[in-house]
């Protein structure tokens, strides 16, 4: 994963609440065995509407998406994060995210920035004309109009994003601890090992 720090540019002023991952990428796109190329299916139903936000040339290639509460709810499909990444989104700003989606976004180097609704309302206005700057290191979202919103992020996630770290490799380096746990678990709950082999 490439390191992430600054995301700067135009933003889609989307703002909708409870956007589920079926809306982000419908199920018929999930038949792929690859991670790439899903941007073509992103927001397919919305893009079928004439004059939709995502095909508006004013926002073409925007790296930021501004959304409403509970963004990414529903299905766990990581294809939603892959689709957003493939259409060039590097940060999503919303009042809240579904737990599974924010994890998936993080694994793909997409920042999920949580800000209060008032900040979202302001950024929606700014996005219509101007660029927005997300600074992960300083944990701020700023605009050319001196707006400055601070956001919280899990320190471990921040470290992984800024370092572009391979999480699986990091965990595999803890093989000793995992093996110790497996031995303790085998003694405490002997019926659990081999469960799939019956």
């Amino acid at each position: 994963m490439d390191p992430v720090n600054h995301v700067e540019g135009k933003a889609y002023p989307f703002g909708r609440k409870n956007v589920d991952t079926d809306v982000i990428i419908p199920a018929h796109w999930l038949k792929t065995i690859s991670r790439i190329g899903l941007g073509r299916g992103a927001f397919e139903a919305l893009r079928a509407e004439p004059g939709n936000l995502f095909d508006d040339p004013a926002y073409a290639g925007s790296p930021i998406l501004i959304a409403g509460d509970n963004f990414g709810c529903g299905s766990s499909r990581e294809h939603a994060a892959w689709a957003l990444g493939d259409m060039g989104i590097k940060a999503v700003i919303a009042p809240s995210f579904s737990d599974i989606f924010s994890g998936n976004a993080f694994k793909n180097g997409i920042l999920t920035v949580v800000l209060p609704q008032e900040a979202i309302d302001r950024l929606m206005e700014v996005a219509k004309t101007d660029e927005i700057h997300v600074d992960l290191e300083n944990q701020t979202v700023t605009t050319p109009f001196q707006d400055r919103f601070s956001f919280e992020i899990d320190p471990f996630r921040k470290q992984c994003l800024m370092g572009g770290l391979d999480e699986i490799g990091m965990t595999m380096a803890m093989d000793g601890q995992i093996s110790n746990y497996e031995q303790r678990a085998a003694a405490a709950w002997p019926w659990q090992a081999g469960g799939a082999n019956a």
């Binding site: 589920d20 079926d22 419908p26 737990d99 994890g103 965990t171 995992i178 405490a188 019926w191 659990q192």
Partner: protein
């Protein structure tokens, strides 16, 4: 041993007990490396994970804790011809994805239940049915309805494909602890009111984002009185309330359900397991971050009107007016939902005609669900306006059981189609779809825009209510129709 596993003596919730028992390592920032006891794998969210392992030259750490079953893409039409030969999958992309799982599972040493095996079914039906899913275990799958297995007292949640790869490689996940929410339901459910109606009621009350960041523990006399299958239905829909996992403390009902299942512990292991499982209750004095109380007597058979699972009204109710909502963004969402659904404020839900009926999905495709639907359909016919009505058992074993009880005949005699197991019309991925602009009464879990196919209009209901809608051709109150439900 308990001390060795890091268990403290202060009062703990069921969630905390399971969590504590699975922490491999805790980082200074609070992130924990958590051991995963059971990993269910299906064809849609695993190909990229196996590819990742291959590229990095990594193996599956614990194939003995991993079980692979195809379900999402499989057509529910017959899988073998009259001579017993496997029929090809018509859609080339689906065929490729199914073939990938069929190849990846043995290549990585994973037990695979294939498309034509009698045990095949929806992962969340197969896991409990095989006794693979057990109380006190951590269970993951690349599917958000993994929350289902919480009905057995397992900490079970959906994960993305990167996490699938992480679990395959390390049998662990990096997680931060969740907050806890107790949903306590007391009293008896009325006639015709089922676990599904209860699940919809809970989501109506807490909202689609109400459980975000939380694990829900369902408690109270109503929950205790549910069968394991009903508990699986309630826990299944935790994710529709935003909670990644649901939990129901295991009890004698759970143990009776699991005993003798193929992958469940046996002999002395069984006795030891039950002794341990009996400790999996929230201690007196333990506290939840939030508690929601529900009186079961207030719950009617429920139905959804909009495009979020929180858009729930009793079947006796009417389509709401968007202006009834205090929150301006909810007003706007409701207007969009009603436009998509083709409904007007004030319309009686019972006047809404449906052309499609879907009885199935990981929420409602177990034997008790099929019995409830059959009880309503017995001796009746589907209405002429109902163009497409299918019953999709959750697994091959559910199908066998239903056929042994003659339920398939009841469905067929009523004019419904009796299909092979799979996810079917829950998600618009395989050939089972609701046509654009048409309406369905569906026992699945999501009424999202386009979920059952582009332009499809979904009304979520219980199996008995779906059967009632099949008979009348409109959303109907099963209590007025009778039957044994």
């Amino acid at each position: 041993m308990l001390k060795a596993l890091g268990m403290a003596s202060r009062p703990r919730t069921l969630y905390e007990k399971i969590w504590d028992a699975h922490v491999v390592d805790q980082r200074a920032d609070g992130t924990c490396l958590v051991f995963i006891d059971r990993h269910l794998v299906h064809e849609v969210t695993s190909p990229q994970a196996f590819e990742g392992l291959r590229v990095a030259g990594r193996k599956v750490r614990r194939p003995d804790l991993t079980l692979a079953v195809p379900d999402h893409n499989l057509p529910t039409t017959p899988r073998k011809d009259a001579a017993g030969n496997r029929l090809p999958i018509a859609d080339p992309e689906s065929a490729q994805q199914l073939a990938a799982l069929e190849q990846n599972a043995p290549a990585f040493g994973i037990r695979y239940i294939g498309a034509t095996d009698r045990e095949q079914g929806i992962v969340h039906v197969v896991g409990p049915e095989q006794g693979f899913s057990l109380p006190g275990t951590t269970i993951v799958c690349g599917d958000s309805h993994t929350a289902c297995h919480g009905g057995l007292g397992a900490l079970a949640f959906g994960i993305g494909t990167s996490e699938v790869e992480h679990v395959l490689a390390t049998q662990t996940l990096l997680l931060t602890p969740s907050k806890t929410m107790e949903v306590r339901v007391e009293g008896a459910l009325g006639p015709g009111v089922t676990a599904k109606d209860l699940a919809l009621e809970i989501i109506r009350r807490i909202g689609a984002a109400g459980g975000t960041g939380h694990v829900i523990e369902y408690t109270g006399s109503t929950i205790r009185a549910l069968s394991v299958e009903g508990r699986l239905t309630v826990s299944n829909m935790s994710i529709e309330g935003g909670a990644r996992a649901g939990l129901i403390a295991p009890d004698d009902v759970t143990f009776a359900y699991l005993k003798g299942r193929p992958m469940a512990p046996k002999g002395a292991d069984w006795d030891a397991a039950v002794s341990y499982w009996r400790t999996l209750v929230t201690d007196p004095g333990a506290t939840y971050d939030r508690t929601v109380l529900i009186d079961a007597a207030e719950i009617a058979p429920n139905v959804t009107w909009g495009t979020s699972p929180e858009d729930v009204v009793p079947i006796t109710g009417v389509v709401p007016d968007p202006m009834d909502f205090a929150d301006p963004s909810k007003q706007e969402a409701a207007r969009k939902s009603l436009a998509y659904m083709g409904l007007e404020p004030g319309m009686r839900m019972q006047d809404v005609a449906v052309e499609n009926i879907f009885i199935g999905s990981c929420t409602n495709s177990r034997i008790e669900d099929l019995r409830a639907a059959a009880a309503v359909l017995k001796g009746r016919k589907k209405a002429p306006g109902v163009k497409w009505a299918i019953v999709v058992p959750g697994s091959g074993l559910v199908k066998e059981q239903a056929e042994a009880e003659g339920l398939d005949r009841v469905f067929k005699d009523a004019g419904l189609e009796w299909r092979e197991p799979g996810c079917s019309a829950c998600l618009g991925m395989n050939p089972d779809k609701v046509p654009p602009g048409e309406r369905s009464a569906s026992t699945s879990n999501r009424n999202f825009v386009g979920r059952q196919g582009p332009g499809a209009r979904t009304h979520l209901v219980s199996p008995a209510m779906a059967a009632a809608a099949a008979v009348t051709g409109r959303l109907s109150d099963v209590r007025e129709l009778g039957g044994d439900a």
